[in-house]
């Protein structure tokens, strides 16, 4: 049962890993992007549509990345350049994503596609316990294993990462050093949108193998919550994403085993888990929030 839950956690959690890592990078620059949900949807539809048209899931994944990025630039324009309220704008961008993908996704609902297939890694996939959990997945899931340390490396070992963190903590200092916090934030929002789009691509073309209206179903918002869970540390995002999808797998496992619990209570378990974890950790995590996260519009106009 534990193995099945962990397998389910990885399978169902990959799209959330991408979105959470992306949102972490965005927030480290001092911008909160609630448009992540919309970027995931844009990525899901673009990946699916290009997959259908070209027969290549890889071209689809690239299209998903570009679509997620493009939508996030709407957020960047309004919040960073125009100084709009980032909460309202992020929600509006998500609704824009829902509307646009519903409109343009009509012709692709449940149409055929060449999806990503699972690729078992020879030798490793046969390992007991760890094999099915880690080494029997689609290519985008393997890529997500690499994205997490890559995001850490970006933030803590590169000049861009230093500027992103500076933009989030002390944009005035960054500005004094001759670097525009606004430009750095644009970059961070774009990276976040691209990763959310890639997460959407994984959802549509590798996991669910379909396009359906509003299919992200709140995972983008869960990702925003999980950034707090992870304390804005990219390495911990993967734990948060797997915690959520593992709770989904756990709930389904309980059902399949005939637990005498209402299915409506079971359905709420993953969300209750996230709420409980946030309630337990938020006091300790608060200091980890980038300092200018709540005041982006006052300091970004350099």
């Amino acid at each position: 049962m534990i193995e099945a839950i962990l397998v389910g956690a990885v399978r169902g959690g990959t799209s959330i890993v991408y979105a959470t890592v992306g949102e972490t990078i965005t927030e480290r620059s001092g911008v909160l992007n609630l448009g992540t949900e919309g970027s995931m949807l844009a990525g899901a539809l673009a990946a699916y549509a290009i997959g259908v048209e070209t027969g290549s899931p890889w071209l689809g994944a690239v299209a998903g990345l570009v679509a997620g990025l493009a939508l996030s630039l709407v957020h960047a324009l309004l919040v960073i350049t125009r100084g709009a309220n980032q909460v309202a704008t992020g929600l509006a961008v998500t609704f824009l994503g829902i509307g646009l993908t519903s409109l343009y996704g009509q012709g692709y609902v449940s149409q055929g596609v060449v999806p990503f297939e699972s690729v078992a890694i020879p030798g490793l996939a046969d390992l007991p316990f760890l094999g099915p959990i880690l080494f029997d997945h689609d290519p985008l899931t393997y890529l997500s294993f690499a994205i997490v340390p890559a995001a850490w490396w970006l933030l803590y070992r590169t000049g861009l990462g230093l500027r992103i963190r500076a933009a989030g903590e002390r944009p005035d200092v960054l500005s004094t050093m001759g670097t525009s916090p606004a430009r750095v934030r644009w970059t961070a929002v774009a990276i976040g949108g691209a990763l959310a789009g890639l997460g959407g691509a994984q959802l549509a073309t590798a996991f669910a193998r379909t396009w359906s209206e509003d299919m992200v179903a709140g995972k983008g918002f869960i990702a925003v919550a999980l950034v707090i869970f992870a304390g804005w540390n990219p390495l911990l995002t993967i734990a948060g994403a797997y915690l959520f999808s593992g709770a989904v797998a756990f709930e389904l496992e309980l059902q399949a085993r005939g637990a005498g619990i209402s299915i409506f209570v079971l359905d709420a378990i993953p969300y209750l888990v996230v709420l409980a974890v946030l309630a337990l950790l938020s006091g300790r995590r608060r200091h980890a929030a980038p300092e200018s996260l709540d005041s982006v519009f006052d300091t970004g106009g350099a």
Binding site: R11, G12, L78, L103, V109, S110, S212, V216, F297
Partner: protein
């Protein structure tokens, strides 16, 4: 550092943000504009952009020379809870609605993705009435309450709801009816095929909500499988959503991990589960719509809606002004058991290559016994849920000697009520 124009900028941004929200809402409702072309010229897509402004006036004087609701109707409105291309419930209803329009010559309005709430569904129906519709088909189970509201407000408009029972209301309405088809019968037949094909004797059933129709399907599937394979077991798992592909994929994986080698479902969109089963080398039993093209290797069979003849008959009855005296003005159910019915509203899907001739013969025998009426009482001789039938805890739910009718069955197997022996899964 403050920009001198900060306030103005924020105001502009806020307006823009509201604009984006409005654009999003408009977009999601106007989606039918990019229709893939499967609808006819006479068919026009309804949007609820103007719904908020529409008044009740449109329908009041729309009735023709008769006082009966729907008499002389020229426009019929259909509501779907999901997209019309879902390889499932909504696609089956949509295609039958289009075919009904071609057959009867009425104009058909379609509204997809209509949520099952009064705030969402009532304005869509009001908008259709404003466009001249005098017959409405809200086709999703949860559209019932909105349907009742609209029917009560517009006595001249006929409303027929697909799925629930009018007798559940305290006061039946003259212009309201409910209909459904006993799809659990072809599901029972599919259970025979699945019970023969399964090697692990474990079959997974992914459903949305424990409503009566779903419980009837799951129990019928298990009984059908057990009729040829006493060891066959069904694991039922709920996604608590009619179409959440990610949850479906997760549920399918859970069931495959539990050893299920056949997956079937009661979901509106069916593609994810069938493709997940196919990719895992498991077998599929379809529902709502023939999706065999998605599973060339593992397809067994399925149960497809064939609503067209029923829709045509309902609409023609209403146009003639004869709705009130017809069986459609109440709880209407059809199936194989109606020995006299001119049609059924479903058909079994084609068999896949994995089904052998003996199994096909067993299915054909069961079908023959469902429809056979040796004693001439107008009711088929074989009733799938004829008592005694006990639930999985051993309590007798359908007593010996009872052969429930379709409407009685909805009472005997109510919301979240019971599973037969051999079905695993939460239900409370």
């Amino acid at each position: 550092m403050k920009l001198p124009t900060t306030q103005l900028t924020r105001l502009l941004a806020l307006l823009l943000a509201f604009g984006l929200v409005a654009a999003a809402c408009g977009g999601s409702d106007a989606e039918d504009g990019s229709d893939a072309g499967s609808s006819t010229d006479s068919s026009e897509e309804a949007t609820d952009d103007s719904a908020a402004d529409s008044t009740d006036d449109g329908g009041e004087d729309a009735a023709a020379d008769s006082d009966a609701c729907g008499a002389g109707a020229t426009t019929v409105g259909f509501l779907y809870v999901g997209p019309k291309d879902d390889f499932g419930y909504n696609q089956a209803a949509y295609e039958a609605a289009v075919a009904m329009g071609e057959s009867t010559g009425v104009e058909v309005l379609h509204a997809e993705n209509v949520p099952e709430t009064i705030e969402d569904a009532v304005p869509v129906m009001e908008d259709m009435i404003a466009q001249g519709a005098t017959i409405l088909f809200p086709t999703s189970y949860g559209h019932f309450q909105p349907a009742v509201e609209v029917a009560a407000a517009h006595p001249d408009v006929c409303v027929v709801h697909q799925g629930q029972l009018e007798s559940s209301l305290d006061e039946p309405l003259d212009n309201l009816g409910t209909y459904f088809a006993s799809v659990f019968e072809p599901v029972y037949l599919a259970g025979i095929a699945a019970g023969s094909v399964t090697e692990s004797n474990t079959m997974g059933y992914i459903y949305a909500f424990p409503i009566p129709q779903t419980l009837q399907n799951i129990n019928a599937f298990a009984l059908g499988a057990q009729s040829v394979n006493p060891d066959a077991e069904v694991i039922a798992v709920s996604t608590a959503d009619w179409c959440d592909p990610a949850k479906q994929a997760q549920a399918a994986q859970t069931l495959l991990d539990q050893g299920a080698d056949v997956l079937t479902q009661h979901q509106d969109c069916t593609k994810t589960i069938i493709e997940t089963a196919e990719a895992a080398g498991a077998y599929s039993v379809g529902y709502h719509y023939d999706a065999s093209e998605l599973a060339p290797e593992g397809w067994i069979t399925g149960s497809d809606w064939a609503w067209t003849p029923l829709y045509v008959d309902i609409v023609e009855t209403m146009i003639a002004g004869e709705f009130v005296a017809s069986p459609y003005n109440g709880d209407y159910r059809i199936g194989y058991q109606d020995a006299d019915a001119p049609f059924v509203a479903f058909e079994p899907s084609e068999f896949g290559a994995v089904v052998d001739d003996d199994t096909k013969a067993a299915v054909a025998d069961a079908l023959a016994s469902l429809t056979a009426d040796e004693d001439g009482d107008g009711v088929g001789d074989f009733n799938i849920f004829a008592g005694p039938i006990s639930d999985r805890d051993g309590e007798v739910r359908i007593p010996d000697g009872t052969a429930p009718t379709y409407t009685e069955l909805d009472e005997l197997m109510g919301f979240a009520s019971w599973f037969v022996a051999g079905v695993e899964g939460s239900l409370e």
